[in-house]
């Protein structure tokens, strides 16, 4: 089992009503973790399974969905950025 520290930002933080949580799972990749979150239904499914764009960062680096998850990783999920 891995321990993952999940963070949500901006619209996703508001839609999920959650800033951060810690989960324990056996997911091998970011995509598998996303599938687990989609299975929660409601806002999770609406935001992560409806084609709306989102980004994933593992330990502060933007990654592709097939990025591997290591025990203790910080995984952030957020909308496309709009700074500058």
């Amino acid at each position: 089992m891995k321990t993952l520290h999940l963070l949500y930002f901006a619209r996703l933080r508001e839609r999920f009503g959650l800033e951060r949580e810690t989960v324990r799972c056996n997911d091998g990749t970011a995509a598998e973790l996303i599938d687990r979150l989609i299975a929660r239904g409601g806002a999770w499914r609406e935001e992560l399974a409806s084609g709306r764009p989102f980004r994933i960062a593992i330990d502060h680096d933007l990654v592709a969905p097939d990025a591997p998850l290591c025990d203790g990783a910080e995984v952030a999920i957020f909308p496309p950025v709009t700074g500058g």
């Binding site: 963070l7 901006a10 764009p53 989102f54 933007l62 592709a64 909308p79 496309p80 709009t82 700074g83």
Partner: protein, 172 residues
């Protein structure tokens, strides 16, 4: 990956609710470096036309921890592509009103084209890679600003090197 490559440019990053002073940062950047022949700068501001008529403020959220790291990486990437002597980035967070400054990028080089191109590169990547999000406040509530396709296209024209490295989860 970038961490393995030596970057000779001085890089300084600030993420803060505080405003910046372009003249002061310019003077600090060129101080005592007689190899600098060209300094390009960019300042982004909150403008009225950017907002609907009833919008009276912006709020900038960010991802503390990743923000400075991603800005440093973008500056390092620029310093690998162009012969830069110094890079200064200041990005504000929190509540901003029309006319307020949002972001400042300074790039110093021996030659002007390096300074210009590196500056535009940093802004294009900052807009698509750095974890900041804008929310517009109106008299009746707030809404998140959508990412713009034109910003994504602007970043992509600097070749595919960085996007391949970082990956992408969508094509917006």
């Amino acid at each position: 990956m970038l961490d393995d490559v030596p970057v000779n440019a001085r890089i300084e990053i600030t993420v803060s609710a505080e405003d910046f002073d372009l003249g002061r940062e310019f003077n600090a950047l060129i101080h005592d470096d007689r190899g600098i022949g060209a300094v390009a700068s960019f300042v982004g501001l909150v403008r009225d036309l950017n907002l609907d008529s009833d919008v009276n403020a912006l709020e900038l959220e960010h991802y503390p921890g990743m923000t400075e790291k991603s800005l440093t990486r973008i500056a390092e990437e620029a310093a690998l592509r162009w012969p830069l002597r110094a890079v200064r980035i200041w990005h504000r967070v929190g509540r901003l009103e029309p006319g307020d400054r949002i972001v400042m990028v300074l790039t110093a080089s021996a030659h002007r084209h390096s300074a210009y191109e590196a500056n535009a590169f940093i802004m294009d990547y900052l807009k698509t890679r750095a974890p900041f999000w804008k929310k517009e406040w109106t008299g009746t509530g707030a809404r998140w600003v959508d990412a713009r396709h034109s910003d994504q296209s602007a970043a992509e024209r600097w070749h595919q090197v960085v996007s391949e490295r970082y990956g992408a989860t969508d094509h917006d």
